[in-house]
């Protein structure tokens, strides 16, 4: 399992369009991914789960990826979260 903690860069956090794009990236990877903010961790393939975390700009979140090639998938997802998609 690969794990990383990072800061979300998107101006409007992980809502609506950026959330949908993120979940799409997760499901396309075919890996089991967990997203955690504070105490709460959710299945990152669930748009309702991701949206319900209420991730805002500048929030610290932790990503956990399981499966082959987990480091590469983690890199891809981390890059996504560290980019401002509303810019």
């Amino acid at each position: 399992m690969a794990e990383r903690t990072l800061t979300v860069a998107s101006t409007h956090g992980l809502h609506a369009r950026p959330a949908a794009l993120f979940v799409k990236t997760v499901t396309d990877s075919g890996h089991t991914v967990e997203l955690q903010k504070g105490e709460r961790a959710i299945n990152a393939a669930s748009i309702l789960g991701v949206v319900s975390l209420g991730v805002n700009h500048g929030d610290e979140v932790t990503l956990r990826v399981q499966g082959d090639d987990d480091e590469a998938v983690l890199d891809q997802l981390a890059t996504f979260l560290e980019k401002d998609h509303d810019a």
Binding site: H15, A16, A20, K24, L48, S52
Partner: protein, 558 residues
């Protein structure tokens, strides 16, 4: 109902605008009934299977619609599809079917719990909560063999018949294909009517008889007469289309400032709420702004924006109207648009509560800040800036507001006449106001004691009602006697024929959605002030709104 509705094929409603349209009906499916929480007669496995299948089918259908729509609609529909096949939702649904729920109820309840969570988070997410209802309704419709809810799809132009349209429906409506809108519920201030007016779509609202129309029926929609006619004669169709063509020709020729046939000037102003709508108003030939709604700048804010923030926005709007009048309505927090920092919570009867100027007087610092910001923005602008107070019910309130505005550097301050007491005592109010502006939507709501947001009493919300017209006449006379201008800034001014009547009652300027200006300008140019007064006299002496309108139309087209 009116006498005209004797023919079973002729349905009566309230016309929006004055266009005509002929075409086939497509009905908007009624909302899917809410599934009951009854024990399933199938096994939990069967129900789980049904639920999975329905959600997958819904996701596929949404994606297909998205692909054919393209652009932003595709993104929105794709996000909905993701909700339909969401693993967290699937787990919740599965859990409920295991407990013996039907697939329908499991989907309904699971979506409901996610929706409540989103609503609880507020803001943008709260606004998207309705999307979940949409997804659930589609899946439940699939399970029940009902047509999918929402705007039906068509490749060819059609006349949309619906109970009423919600904002979500109109967002996905392809206006290019909609020849006309017909609703069975809702009145002239319903969302459908407002949309139709804004976009210039021919519409009839509140035509209860239209519930009997079927997909594929050919109908003639005549907004001026307020009728929907099934299987019309070719002769009637030709006549209607010819009249529309004539009107369009007149409209195309009319330009410049608003005036009656005898040259009597009636400035045509725009109702705006943002910098964008200000630009639109300029493009459509508005001679200024009769109602600048400032709530939009504040909605969703936890506290009032600072004087500097406000002044910057006001400056942008004023810059669009050099040398012209811009009438700014100070914050109108109310029943339909509460503001966290201004609206009292838990009023049983918010339309009759501490709203409008009453709320501002209770939080005077907010009013002072807004007037200060307006004065600052006005000082550096070429626009003629005036302010007015909403929901004024007494002469004392008018005096309070004008004194405060003058103290803070705004020279022209008036009142909105929306409360009957203010209209009845207009001769006193006029002595404490630099102008009066009649808000016909609220004046109608308060005169007929009918909540303008409540569909079941929508038929009362008709500004043609002689009781409303008599109050307007009282204000018009008081304005003339005291040399105080009387404007109209409700939806009534956007109805071209009613606009003529309003001028006859003493209105000196008319303010409306800018899309209505061309039609109103064209109609005014066909009547003299004497004509307008004669028509007004007919309207105020009628027994009902329908009779008033019929009498005026009869006099114009004998």
């Amino acid at each position: 109902m009116m006498a005209a509705a004797t023919n079973a094929n002729l349905l009566q409603g309230v016309g929006i605008g004055r266009g005509t349209a002929v075409g086939p009906v497509i009905r908007m499916p009624d909302p899917v009934p809410q599934p009951a929480d009854t024990a399933s007669e199938r096994t939990p496995d069967e129900e789980a299977q049904r639920a999975r299948e329905a959600l997958t089918a819904t996701a596929t259908q949404l994606r297909q619609r998205g692909e054919s729509a393209g652009g932003t609609a595709a993104e929105v529909l794709d996000a909905l599809a993701m909700m339909a096949e969401d693993p967290a939702l699937a787990a919740d649904v599965q859990h409920r079917t295991e407990d013996g729920a039907t697939a329908e109820y499991a989907i309904h309840a699971a979506m409901g719990s996610f929706r409540d969570m989103l609503v609880g988070m507020g803001g943008y997410l709260g606004e998207r909560a309705g999307d979940l209802d949409d997804v659930a309704q589609r899946a439940i419709a699939h399970l029940s063999g009902l047509p999918a809810p929402g705007v039906p799809e068509s490749e060819t132009p059609f006349i949309l018949v619906a109970r009423d349209l919600a904002p979500a429906d109109t967002a996905t409506l392809d206006l290019e294909l909609v020849l006309a809108l017909v609703t069975t519920d809702g009145g002239p201030t319903s969302h459908t009517a407002i949309l139709a007016r804004e976009k210039g779509i021919t519409a009839i609202v509140g035509a209860s008889g239209a519930a009997a129309l079927q997909d594929g029926d050919i109908v003639l929609v005549d907004a001026e007469a307020g009728t929907v006619e099934r299987d019309p004669d070719q002769e009637r169709v030709d006549l209607a289309l010819q009249r529309t063509a004539t009107l369009e020709a007149i409209r195309a020729q009319s330009s410049g400032p608003g005036a009656l046939a005898d040259g009597h000037a009636v400035p045509l102003l725009a109702n705006i709420g943002s910098v964008d709508s200000a630009r639109e108003a300029v493009a459509r030939g508005a001679e200024g702004v009769g109602l600048f709604r400032t709530e939009v700048l504040f909605l969703g804010a936890e506290k009032a924006p600072t004087v500097e923030e406000q002044a910057a926005t006001y400056r942008e709007v004023f810059a669009q109207f050099p040398g012209q009048k811009v009438v700014v309505r100070v914050l109108d927090a109310g029943a339909d648009k509460p503001l966290a920092f201004l609206t009292d919570q838990g009023e049983e009867n918010p339309a009759l509560g501490r709203r409008g100027l009453r709320a501002l007087a209770a939080h005077e610092e907010i009013l002072r800040d807004q007037l200060t910001a307006l004065a600052q923005a006005a000082a550096g602008s070429d626009a003629i800036v005036q302010v007015m107070a909403p929901m004024v019910s007494t002469a004392q309130e008018a005096q309070y507001f004008r004194d405060l505005a003058h103290e803070l550097g705004i020279a022209i301050a008036g009142v909105m006449v929306e409360v009957p007491s203010c209209a009845i005592l207009a001769d006193h109010v006029a002595q404490h106001a630099d102008f009066m502006s009649i808000g016909t939507n609220d004046l109608t709501q308060y005169t007929l004691a009918a909540d303008r947001l409540l569909g079941t009493v929508a038929t009362f919300q008709n500004p043609w009602h002689p009781s409303v017209l008599r109050l307007i006449e009282t204000v018009g006379s008081a304005g003339a006697a005291h040399d105080v201008p009387v404007g109209i800034c409700g939806e009534a001014a956007a109805d071209p024929i009613l606009a003529v009547v309003l001028v006859g009652l003493g209105a000196t300027s008319l303010s409306m959605s800018s899309s209505a200006i061309a039609d109103v300008r064209a109609e005014l140019s066909m009547h003299s002030l004497d004509d307008a007064r004669r028509l007004a006299a007919l309207a105020v002496s009628a027994e009902s709104a329908e009779a008033a309108r019929a009498a005026v139309l009869g006099a114009i087209h004998p």
